[in-house]
Amino acid sequence: MTTTSTRSAARRSRRRSGTYGDHPATGYLFLSPWILGALLLFLGPMLASLYLSFTDYDLFSTPNWIGLENYERMLTDDPRFGNSVLATVRFVVFGVPIQLAAALGVALLLNRASRMSGVYRSAFYAPSLLGGSVALALVWRSLFTADGPADQLSGLFGMPSRGWVNDPQLALAVLVLLIVWQFGAPMVIFLAGLKQIPQELYDAAAVDGANAWQRFRSITVPMLSPVIFFNLVLNTINAFQVFNAAFVVSGGTGGPSDTTLFYTLYLWRKGFVEFNMGYASAMAWVLLLGIALVTVLIFRSARSWVHYAGEKR
């Protein structure tokens, strides 16, 4: 479908350019900033970082080829690397689904005609706008610090207070809460998706006597599944790369006990604190492979749960 329309569009524009004589260089001229950027800041650096990942580059001396040593060390001789993978995976596995559930929940709630809808939507979106900022991470850190508001609240339930951010069992939860709290962006996308579902489907189901939960299960979720899929892919990819929050909340260390040593934080430490640029490059490629693998898995799984309108089942 897409290819046909692109092809016919291409045919159309070819005919036009034939008639009116587009100079072929014009395209490259308009694209020249992008071409320069793509070569100098993407294609070149990609190849360079792949090369550097097989070296002991330290930013100051000439890189020496050391083969697979960086990759071997990651897997066999660097427990902190394992910790950073674990922290990141736990963050993604807990953070993203809860965040999307919150986004969908609030979207369902807001999907209702009211004069206040616009105001509510913006208010729920506001945290997402500020969420990545250092200022907000500082607020978060203070909310969950020793004797901070969160501590006093958990104290009411008889939990010992030493500050969530200092507690190895809770530090990650603080960061999960931060990403869950920023559900505004997927929420807005869910709202747009909900508006596309024809009301007749709900009316027909109501006539058949389906209750609210049944309507949600058999109409909303399947009809919304492409949007759920889109949000899942996007937010998973982004969650793998979270940096600011972990940096600020842990004071740049990834503590306590490396429980919030996110992958990107460890990569930054390896590269820009320890000047182990070769190792950091290898880590970047492993991150790329990891994200690609997870994305492929989500795409694979999509066959069984994502339904496109008009598709035969």
Binding site: L31, F42, P45, V106, S133
Partner: protein, 280 residues
């Protein structure tokens, strides 16, 4: 009261209740910026017992020997540069991809899509080395220059989608009137592209304003510090608890431009995001 009216009231009450929880951290930050530092950590109450307006004066006192207005200026310069760069070069690229014909268009477009998905970390270290070789580390160039090379492929993609929706007849008419591609771009496409340009400008501004990672890597001398870097000083200093009041005051001040932008343009932002799937 009719049942429908009751349900409506219950709905408003529920939404507002969730909103109160959601916005609590922001309100808490604002309240904390007006409390004495001691009171912030010991009291959950939002209304300050003592109003400590001096926090704001303290927040604006020089930090690491640099006046705070300098951090605002640096952040503004970088954000403004990024906005100009993105709007200018991403729209040029989008027009080429969407409307012009040239042999390498398809592979180049495919590569652009790849760069959207690529984690920044893969190109991070060679990019750093390049800027180091050019003597640009600890200047604003590494933060602004890439924007003039349309490296934010996401916005190129956003605009390509937008240009594709514009009727080709317009270009056609302009062409018959004797316009070349450049005049078609400036006289026909750009004015119609305005909503996408505004979306790009606002998101570029807010993301650059909030960015931290690249600033952390590229900027080292305090004179070049941006607001996020200045705020981070509060994490590093040991006596940070004593500085809580000023820290929150500076946090509030640093968020103001973003909030003002949001208040002014939220309709564009949210609609633009819903149609394009942009991330906040």
């Amino acid at each position: 009261m009719t049942p429908a009216r009751m349900r409506k009231l219950a709905w408003h009450a529920l939404v507002l209740a969730i909103l109160v929880v959601m916005l609590y951290p922001l309100v808490w930050m604002l309240a904390s910026s007006l409390k004495p530092s001691r009171e912030i950590v010991t009291s959950v109450a939002l209304i300050p017992q003592t109003w400590e307006w001096s926090n704001y004066a303290a927040a604006l006192e020089p930090r690491v020997g640099v006046p705070v207005w300098r951090f605002f200026l640096n952040t503004t310069l970088i954000s403004a540069g990024a906005v100009v760069g993105n709007v200018l070069t991403c729209s040029l690229a989008a027009y080429a991809f969407a409307r012009l014909r040239f042999r390498l268009r398809t592979p180049m477009f495919a590569f652009m899509l790849v760069t959207i998905m690529l984690p920044y970390h893969v190109v991070l270290i060679p990019q750093y080395t390049i800027f180091q070789q050019l003597g640009m580390v600890d200047t604003f160039w590494p933060l602004v220059l890439p924007k003039f090379l349309a490296t934010d492929a996401f916005f190129v993609f956003l605009m390509v989608q937008f240009v594709r929706q514009l009727p080709q007849d317009l270009d056609e008419a302009a062409r018959i009137d004797g316009c070349g591609p450049f005049r078609i771009f400036t006289l026909v496409i750009l004015p119609l592209l305005r909503p996408a340009l505004i979306t790009t400008a606002i998101f570029t501004f807010i993301w650059t304003w909030n960015d931290f990672f690249q600033q952390l890597i590229y900027l080292s001398s305090p004179d070049n510090y941006t607001l996020p870097l200045a705020l981070r000083l509060f994490v590093d200093t040991q006596e940070s608890v004593a500085n809580f009041g000023p820290m929150f005051a500076l946090s509030v001040l640093s968020m103001l431009p973003v909030l003002l932008f949001f208040a002014a343009f939220q309709r564009y932002l949210i609609d633009g995001m819903a149609t394009s799937g942009l991330k906040g």
